[in-house]
């Protein structure tokens, strides 16, 4: 059964085509990884899926699907007067402490972090808080936009491990934007290569051939195959 069906999705910003005729569907319980070079429209695609960006074509979510969205970054200052506890409480009145603790457990965050400022904690920790925030809402689908430059490798790895566990334990469908081809190779059920239009689509093993990646990234051929070859 499909969680979402996307047909002929296209987006223009000021006359420039950012996405062109994107078609795909995502099966319940699967992990779709969207890869592509910088500026390929990955984040734009994710945002259009939740209606943040006006688009042509159709995005059809299955009835009653609850979406948890984890943005790439938050536009906040380090001294923003907002504690993690207060941020989590913004989820709504019905959020119990037990539920918050459970969500923090899922994302492997210490409860002591609740009293820290949201702007003070590391970017990796904040990303976990955001995932916990999404999880508290009891989503069926998690949309995860990978933070790029501003997070270290070990932080990234553990976030993906955590996402993987979430998907296994909660039976979530995950749609994620990723730059790390190793992660994609290990965890994704389906990979979509995106560079304005859909260049490839399928299981990681089939899709992530050197030739496909060459087409996707142009000259910067991926080193991925050598690592796992």
């Amino acid at each position: 059964m499909n969680v979402v069906e996307v047909k002929g999705l296209s987006i223009e910003f000021g006359g420039a085509r950012v996405l062109e005729d994107i078609n795909f569907e995502v099966e319940r319980g699967s992990v779709l990884a969207i890869i592509g070079p910088n500026g390929a429209g990955k984040t734009v695609l994710l945002k259009s899926l939740i209606g943040l960006i006006p688009h042509g074509g159709a995005v059809r979510w299955a009835d009653g699907v609850r979406i948890g969205y984890v943005p790439q970054r938050m536009d906040i200052e380090t001294d923003v007067p907002l504690t993690v506890r207060e941020f989590v409480a913004l989820r709504g009145a019905g959020v119990s402490m037990a539920k918050i603790k459970e969500a923090l457990g899922f994302v492997q965050l210490d409860e002591r972090l609740l009293d820290a400022g949201l702007g003070e904690i590391s970017i990796g920790q904040r990303q976990r808080v955001l995932v916990a925030w999404a999880v508290i809402g009891g989503p069926d689908v998690l949309l995860f936009d990978e933070p790029t430059a501003d997070i270290d490798i070990t932080g990234q790895e553990s976030i993906y491990k955590m996402l993987y566990h979430l998907q296994k334990n909660l039976g979530l469908t995950v749609i994620m934007v990723s730059h790390d081809l190793n992660v994609v190779y290990r965890h994704a059920s389906i990979v979509m290569c995106l560079n304005r239009s859909k260049l490839c689509y399928g299981a990681p093993r089939e899709v992530l051939s050197s030739e496909q990646l060459f087409n996707l990234y142009g000259g910067e051929k991926a080193f991925f195959q050598h690592k796992h070859g």
Binding site: Y69, L82, L118, W133
Partner: protein
């Protein structure tokens, strides 16, 4: 302790400052510090027309503010011009227009405020509207905070960002219309921003930020009225100076904490 004439202006100042500084805490979080100045300038022609044609200046101000708020809101979404540019050009121009058509003997009052000039019904209306404004902000503050932290997340849980921002701008306009009689068009931006900026220096949580901002605004307003009565000074500037002293004190506290 106070003789009769001071009590009403004192109450008005304290309530108006409380609502303006509560609003200000979100203006600071949304990095809209300049909007207060801009809006107060826009109110000027409205007040001037009201004085010329002898209707209530509050209504004149509110009418112009309402138009400006719709303008800002549309510009934010529809044009590639930055809000700052629009503010810099058009809103100072409206201050200029206001200054030209304002009857001369009212000009100083419009620029620097005169809270003692309020009639009793006007004072009571100001207090009630301040309470309405506080209630309005408290009813949307969670959504506002989320909108400020991440519009995407807000949208993903069904918050209508555009509508929320419009309500916020309307609240802003009301705060300006209320405060402009107290501190005047030139100092209005400071009434909104300084107490909140002071609170941000020392607050770590949202609750303390909001409470401290309101407290600073109320203390400065109360002290400002008392001092200006005792020494026969214009209340607006006195308020701003006291607020600035509070700001510097909180800045010192912030720096010592960090050291």
């Amino acid at each position: 302790m106070f003789n009769q004439p001071i009590i009403l202006p004192l109450l008005v100042a304290v309530f108006v400052a409380a609502s303006a500084s509560l609003l200000g805490s979100f203006a600071i979080l949304k990095r809209m510090s300049l909007v207060g100045d801009a809006l107060s300038h826009v109110a000027m022609p409205g007040i001037a027309l009201a004085l010329l044609f002898r209707f209530n200046p509050f209504i004149g101000g509110v009418a112009f503010l309402f138009v400006a708020v719709i303008g800002i809101w549309l510009v934010e979404y529809r044009s590639s011009l930055s809000v700052e540019t629009i503010v810099g050009v058009f809103f100072t121009a409206s201050l200029a227009i206001g200054a030209l058509i304002m009857p001369e003997h009212d000009l100083i009052e419009a620029l620097f405020g005169n809270i003692t000039g309020l009639s009793a019904p006007e004072s009571i209306a100001s207090i009630i509207l301040s309470l309405v404004l506080i209630a309005a902000i408290l009813s949307i503050y969670k959504q506002l905070t989320l909108n400020m932290v991440s519009q995407e997340i807000a949208q993903s849980i069904g918050i209508k960002n555009r509508r929320l921002e419009f309500i916020f701008l309307l609240s802003f306009a009301l705060a300006v219309a209320l405060g402009i009689r107290f501190v005047g068009a030139l100092l209005m931006g400071s009434l909104v921003i300084i107490p909140a900026a002071s609170a941000k220096n020392i607050a770590r949580s949202l609750t303390s930020f909001m409470v401290e901002s309101m407290t600073f605004g109320m203390i400065a307003a109360g002290a400002g009225i008392v001092i200006s009565y005792r020494y026969e000074l214009t209340p607006g500037p006195v308020f701003i100076l006291i607020s600035s002293i509070i700001f510097i004190s909180t800045l010192v506290i912030r720096q010592t904490r960090r050291a």
